[in-house]
């Protein structure tokens, strides 16, 4: 019974989230059509939209939400995190990081209105591209002073962390940009993949120490770096909340 009320309590806010994404995207899309799409303006909108979502939904869906910031990120870097839930899409915004573009699969780009906005904001669609093409685009974004956000698992993993693909780490080695790992705790319990009803849970986001690609410039260094970074995140997750 308690479980039912917890779920029933969260549901309207989950529904509200998607309504918010769709409605705000709809109106802003037409504003951009009239005023012209500008990358920085599109990113500001996504940042604002993400912050509202994080604040509103997690305020009601989380018992406690804790954000542990680390050393300020000065240089354009590659930000990676485990990917337990849809809600972690906006996790980096909670650290006040605005100048970021994500590397994502095709589906977010297919969301009406919103997809067009993230494309104009400079988000990188991996669909049909080779790793070299994706890295080439990422290099351009890094040169502009933007951070690159990637979830190396590639898909939402729930409470079990999945395999880390090498793309983010190959990107780091080839561009020289540092990797900044983040550990996301609790979101897998709150809204796991394929779960419609949100549960209440404790949430913690933690920025970990940055990692230089220099010590991975070797044969299959990208795979070794992927494993090393996953170990660091897993170690943090195992500490619990």
């Amino acid at each position: 019974m308690v479980e039912f009320f917890k779920r029933a309590y969260a549901f309207p806010f989950v529904a509200g989230t998607w309504t918010w994404l769709a409605v705000s995207g709809f109106f802003v899309y037409f504003f951009f059509c009239i005023s012209g799409f500008k990358e920085s303006r599109a990113r500001s909108f996504i940042y604002f939209q993400g912050r509202v979502l994080q604040t509103a939904v997690l305020f009601v869906s989380a018992f406690h939400k804790k954000i542990i910031k680390g050393t300020p990120i000065k240089n354009p870097s590659i930000l990676v995190a485990n990917h337990p839930s849809t809600y972690d899409t906006f996790v980096f915004f909670d650290f006040g990081i605005k100048n970021i573009v994500y590397v994502a699969k095709n589906w977010p780009f297919q969301i009406p209105f919103y997809g067009k906005i993230i494309k104009e904001a400079g988000y990188i669609n991996t669909e049909g591209k080779t790793a070299d093409e994706i890295i080439s685009q990422a290099k351009e974004r890094l040169k502009k002073g933007l951070h690159i956000g990637i979830f190396p698992e590639g898909t939402r993993s729930g409470t079990e962390i999945g395999r880390f693909r090498s793309l983010a780490f190959k990107m780091s080695i080839e561009t020289g940009a540092e990797i900044v790992p983040f550990a996301i705790k609790g979101l897998g319990e709150m809204l796991a993949p394929k779960q419609i009803w949100a549960k209440k849970a404790d949430i913690e986001y933690k920025q970990l120490e940055k990692i230089s690609p220099d010590r991975f410039c070797m044969e299959a260094g990208d795979l070794k770096m992927a494993k090393a970074v996953k170990e660091i995140i897993v170690e943090e997750l195992n500490k619990g909340l």
Binding site: T126, T130, A131, R163, R165, S166, K170, E219, A220
Partner: protein
Amino acid sequence: MEKKTRDEIVQIVNEALIKEFELKSEQMKPEANFFTDLGLDSLDAVDMVIVLEQAFKVKLRTKYEIGKIMTLKDLYDYIENLMSEAAQQNG
């Protein structure tokens, strides 16, 4: 490149992929499709090339369009052909 039998190739490929992609041995059937049965995608293919290059000590990426390999059997065949070509070249 050291010549290997078909069974040795199958064993090396399976062991390498199970270890790297956290697959289960029962999934490693010759007809298994990388995308629909093993849950891999185009970005995993990049990692697969690196893993196999390490396992067989040979460069793969410039010699074959990796996108044409759809099943484990395709991969075994490709490596076997590569080994045969190398053996012929070596005399």
